[in-house]
C-alpha cells in the first residue's frame, strides 16, 4: 500500500470533487480516497499489485481533470 497526495488543476466546483471521490471509491485497489476542494488535492492509498500510479491518474484524467504533481506521504 502506498499513500499519496495528488495535486490537481484548480477544482472549480465542489461537485467535481465529489465526482472524483465517487469514482475513486469505486476503483479497485484504491483505498480511502478523499478529494479536498479548496486545495484541489486528492489523498488516497493504493495497492500497487492491483492498480499502479498511472492507473489512479488515469481514472482522474478520464473524468477530465489533470494531475499536476504527486507526493508520497508516510
Amino acid at each position: 500500500m502506498k499513500n499519496i497526495v495528488i495535486q490537481l488543476e484548480t477544482l472549480s466546483c465542489p461537485t467535481c470533487a465529489a465526482k472524483i471521490e465517487g469514482a475513486l471509491k469505486k476503483t479497485a485497489g484504491v483505498k480511502n480516497p478523499s478529494v479536498l476542494f479548496n486545495t484541489s488535492r486528492v489523498k488516497l492509498s493504493y495497492d500497487e499489485q492491483v492498480i499502479g500510479l498511472e492507473g489512479v491518474k488515469g481514472v482522474i484524467s478520464k473524468l477530465g481533470y489533470g494531475s499536476l504533481s504527486v507526493r508520497e506521504t508516510p
Binding site: 461537485t15 469505486k26 479536498l36 478520464k62 477530465g64
Partner: protein
Amino acid sequence: MKKPSKKTLVIIVSVLVGISYILHKTIGYHPVTVGVMAVSTAIAGGPILRRALAALRYRIEGIDALVSIAVIGALIIGEYWEAAAVTFLFMIGDYLESRTLEKTRSSLKSLMDLAPETARVRLDGVERTLSAHELEKGMVLVIKPGERIAADAMVLEGSAYVDQASITGEPIPVLKESGERIFSGTIITSGYLVVEATEVGESTTFAKILHLVEEAQDAKAPTQKFIERFSRYYTPAIIVLALVTYLISRDVHMALTLLVIACPGALVISVPVSIVAAIGSSAKNGILVKGGEVIEKLSRIQAAAFDKTGTLTEGRPSVVSVHAYGLSEEELLRIAMIGETYSEHPLATAIAKEGAKRGIVTNELPEKPEHIQGKGIRFTLGGESYYIGNRALFEQNGIGLALSLKDIESEEHERRTVVIVGTSVQVIGLIAIADKLREEAFGVIRELKRLGIKKSVMFTGDSRGTAETVAHCLNLDEFRYELLPEHKVEAVKELQKNYGSVAFIGDGINDAPSLATADVGIAIGAAGNDVAMETADVVLLGQKLGALVDAISISRMAVRNMKQNIFFAIGVAVVLLVGVLLGGVTLSVGMLVHEMSVLLVIINATRILRFAKRKKYTIV
C-alpha cells in the same frame, strides 16, 4: 499539436457565439447559421460530454451529465441557438469561476509560495548554494538582505532586521542578533547573518504552519455537511420533476431547462468559498484557524477564559519603575547592570534589558563581586562598595532604609519585586520589577465586551492579591486564583456549564489540557511550540493578543458571509424554479442565471479578504 488553453477556447467560442447571434437575428436558421452554432456547441460542449460519459461509467450523475442531456435534447428539437448559448455560458461560467476562486485562495497560495527554495551554505569554509531539501541540521547558513531564510536556525554572528510576517503576521521587521532564534520563511530586510540550522525541511515551524493551514482549508464546517446532504436529494428531485413536467405538459423545452438548473451550484460552493477566504484572511493577520468548524464555533463564543502568565502578561519579568535618590535613573541602572554582570537571575536579565532599551552601554566589570545567597550581591566599583538585593540584605548590613521605605512599600503593594541598590551607608535607588501586562490586554478585554462576549475570566496559579490587582487593572469580570493545571480544566468546564461556548486563551505552556477542553482553544505566540500548535484550534502566531479580536471578528464576518451566500443561493434556486415552471425562463436564461449566481457567491466571499481594510477598531 499542443492542446489549446482554456482561455483560447473561451475566446474562440465567444467569437463563434457572437457570429451565431448576428446570423440568427439577420438570416435566421439558415444552414450557415446552424453550421456555426453546431461548431460552437461542439467545441464548448465536447469536454462537457466527455466528462459526463466518464462519470456515467462510474454511475455518478453530475452537472455535466445534466447539461449534456439538455444540450442534446435542444439539438434534437431544433433549438440550435439554445444549445450553443447553454454550452457557451457553461464554459465561460466555469472559466470565470475558477479565476475568481483562485482569488479567494490567493492569500493562502501566497503564503505557500514563501517556502524558500535555495540556501547559501558554508561548507568547509566555502560558500555553496544548496536546494532547501538538501539542508541538514547543524549546517551553517549565510543570509544576505532580501534573502529568505531556508531553515529554523540560531544566529551565530551578525545582526539583521528580519521581516517575520510570514510566521507572525507582524509587518515591522525585528532585530535579530547572535544567540537568537530565527524562523524559516522569514526575510532579512537589512543586515547580514551567519546562522546554524536547528530544524530543516518538514520539521521547521513554517512547514508545520503550512501543513496545518492546508489541512484546515478542507476541514468541513457542519453547515457544509448539511448542504452537501441537501444537494444529494435536491438534484434527483429536480430530475424527477423534469420527467413529470414532460409527461404532463409534453413541453420538452421546459423539462430540459429544469435539468440545467437541477444542480444547486451556488449553494454547494457557498460555504467552502467563505471558509477558505476566512482562513486566508486570518493567516494574513498571523492567525492560524483550523477549519470551518472552528470558524463557526469561534463566531459563537460566549465567554473567554485567559491564562494570566504569558497571555495577559508578557510572561517574563521586566523593569516597571525606577526610583533614583541623588543620581539619575540611567546612572543607577548603569551601576546595577555592572553589578549584575555575572548574574543569570531573571531579575538581572530584566535590568540588563531595561538598560539596553534606554541605550546604556557599559564595559566596566565589578571588582570583588560576592554573591550573598538569597539576598543579593556586593561588589566594588571605583573604590566604592555597593549592595544590590532585597530588604534582608540591607538590614543584615545595617544600611538604613528609612528614606526609601515609603517607595518600597508602595511598590510592594502593587505586587512588584523591589530590587534595592545602595552603598555601604545609604540607599541610592530602587528598581521595581514585575511581569508586565501586555500593552494591548486592556483594549482586548474592552473589545471583547463590545463584541458581546458575556464574561472575560482570568485563571492564574498566583495568590489572590496578585490576581485581584491584574483583574482590576484589566476590568475583567472574574478571576480564579491558585489554580493548578487540572483546576483550570475544571474551571473551563464550569464556564461551559454556565455560558455554553467557551474559548480558552493560553500560551501553550502547562495549559494544553485546558486548550483541548474549551470549545475553542486559542494559543498565543505559539510559533515554535509544537504541542500548542497541535492542540489549539486557533493559533495566534505572533506575540499580539490583539489578534484574538481579529480572529473573532473574521470568524463572525465569515459566518455572516456564509449565511448571505446560502440565502442568496436558495433564493435564486426558488426564483429559477418558479420562473421555469411559469414559462418565463428559457434554457439559456436558466444557465445564465445559474452561472451568475455562482459567480456572485464567490465574489461575495472575496470580501472577507479585505478584512484588514474594514477593521473599525484599534488596540494599543
